[in-house]
């Protein structure tokens, strides 16, 4: 395949950055999107240029590292697919493809296509955990979990923390990510002790980090590679209101 890429190049956080065009020839339609970028980088290195920096790790859709806005859509055109699992056969020969980083106030660009997503870590640190007695084996049947709850918690637990929901949101809100964590932990009996402090802590950190408010636009769930449903945000709001009414708000 022959492709024209327009890639966001930015030397560092202070640089203003610009789209730069590259021509690629002979790309296999069976290559993944990231493999195509590997080929581009080989070429740039051979030409003595600085290769394009982009995040990736597992390349099998489970770690949440890959993070490219492709033709204006986080993770590209294929539904429920991370960038690393997207293949070039989804594009046309001769196509012009725009590649940009996640763009959000809370995710500053570090270099080229790499953004700093440590704000997510700080949100998790402010409540995205449970306390568990370790050291001995828990009795498997001592804490019954209703099947529908287990299923819904599992669905929410599929969130890989990639941040595509934030990149897709016109407000730069991380409500879907937050909702996924609140639902995942808050539906399980093990998550009850911290339930109310968790939602207050995580949402407050979310706001402090510069993520925007949710206006129910719904772009997030469309971009989400794991199909996290919008109703997790309903649960987030419910728990937050209840915690605030109960005087948990700091």
């Amino acid at each position: 395949m022959k492709l024209t890429l327009r890639v966001w190049r930015q030397k560092g956080p202070e640089d203003s950055g610009a789209m730069v065009g590259y021509e690629l020839d002979d790309i296999s339609p069976d290559a993944s999107f990231l493999e195509m970028l590997d080929v581009l980088n080989e070429k740039l290195i051979a030409d003595g240029e600085d290769p394009v920096a982009f995040d990736h790790d597992c390349r099998e859709g489970i770690c949440g590292m890959c993070s490219l806005v492709i033709n204006g859509t986080p993770h590209g055109p294929e539904q429920r697919t991370t960038t690393c699992q997207l293949h070039m056969r989804k594009f046309r020969d001769g196509e012009v493809i725009d590649v940009e980083p996640w763009r959000a106030k809370a995710f500053p660009v570090v270099k080229d296509l790499v953004v700093d997503r440590s704000a997510f870590d700080r949100i998790i640190r402010s409540g995205g955990f449970i306390s568990a007695p370790t050291g001995t084996a828990p009795e498997a049947h001592s804490v019954p979990v209703p099947k529908p709850d287990a299923d819904a918690a599992f669905e929410a637990a599929e969130c890989i923390g990639c941040g595509a929901c934030v990149a897709a949101c016109p407000n730069g809100s991380a409500a879907l990510f937050l909702g996924a964590k609140i639902t995942h932990l808050g539906l399980m009996p093990q998550g009850q002790p911290e339930r109310w402090d968790r939602v207050v802590g995580m949402l407050d950190t979310h706001d402090e980090e510069g993520f925007g408010g949710c206006t129910n636009t719904g772009e997030c769930t469309v971009a989400c590679p794991k199909g996290i449903p919008l109703d997790v945000i309903g649960r987030l709001n419910h728990d937050y209101l209840k915690a605030s009414a109960g005087g948990r708000k700091k």
Binding site: P29, D30, N41, I45, A46, A53, Q85, H87, T134, A137
Partner: protein, 256 residues
């Protein structure tokens, strides 16, 4: 998922199944407390060798992460911290280590060769796949022991690492890893060469039964091999940790 990756619908086209390199088996040596031979350095989860070695079955990582985190570490790390005076480390070895890393970075950036880091990574992977993959022979392993040092020598003269040390530099990061991979690859080959039996994921073509199944040699190899680093360019030292089986004994694998 299959269709997403291959572009073929498995309801219509037979699935193509192919072995993939997924893990190195084994890991860093630890004691029963999961502490390495460096005091205070605990090696946790899949990075240590304790629960997987010749075989590494699916979900080993999950199982080991949970078992280590749930049962072992809550007792052993706490115990270590409680008994140890954690004074600030002021040792000449810290400065030495830092200096070593710095000079390695400078060395990478100054070579300015004509081959990318990735091209070396790929070639090394190819050597391992050919000679230390699913089927290993003495001849192939010996060949790998010639190819790896030769490629390493080439790496240190021809690699091209772009950019600087004072910025996010993924090429530099990768170069450091590939330099380590040479060491690990060589060790894997040395280990595979010394173990002349077949067992688990290690199939020595010389050691098979009439049906082509892996032939064990428990009289000589019922131990985990712990290799001690003896310094750059030195032959690692073998320590044998005996495997003792009280109730269930290893037997020849048979699918009949």
């Amino acid at each position: 998922m299959y269709e997403r990756i291959t572009g073929e619908d498995p309801y219509k086209v037979p699935m193509r199944i192919y072995p993939a390199v997924h893990y190195t088996m084994g890991g860093l040596w630890v004691d029963y407390d999961l502490q390495s031979n460096v005091p205070g350095l605990f090696v946790i989860g899949e990075a240590n060798f304790s629960d997987h070695g010749a075989n590494r079955l699916g979900a080993s990582a999950l199982m080991q992460g949970l078992a280590d985190g749930y049962f072992v570490l809550p007792n052993t790390i706490g115990d270590y911290i409680a008994r140890t005076d954690l004074a600030p480390v002021q040792d000449a070895s810290v400065a030495e280590a830092e200096e070593r890393v710095r000079s390695q970075i400078d060395r990478f950036l100054s070579i300015d060769g004509d081959r990318s880091v990735d091209s070396f990574h790929r070639e090394l992977g190819h050597i391992m796949w050919e000679y230390c993959g699913m089927e290993r022979t003495e001849e192939g392993l010996r060949k790998a022991l010639e190819l790896i040092p030769a490629l390493r020598a080439e790496f240190w003269t021809r690699v091209k690492v772009t950019g600087k040390g004072e910025e996010l530099n993924q090429q530099l990061e990768k170069a450091g890893r590939v330099a380590d991979f040479f060491e690990l690859a060589e060790l894997m080959v040395i280990d595979a060469l010394h173990r002349t039996e077949s067992c688990g994921g290690h199939f020595r073509a010389e050691s098979q039964d009439e049906d082509g199944e892996a032939k064990r040699d428990d009289a000589n190899f019922a131990y985990a091999a712990a290799w001690e680093w003896a310094g750059e360019g030195e032959q690692p030292v073998l320590h044998k940790e005996a495997l003792e089986f009280e109730y269930v004994h290893p037997t020849q694998r048979s699918y009949k």
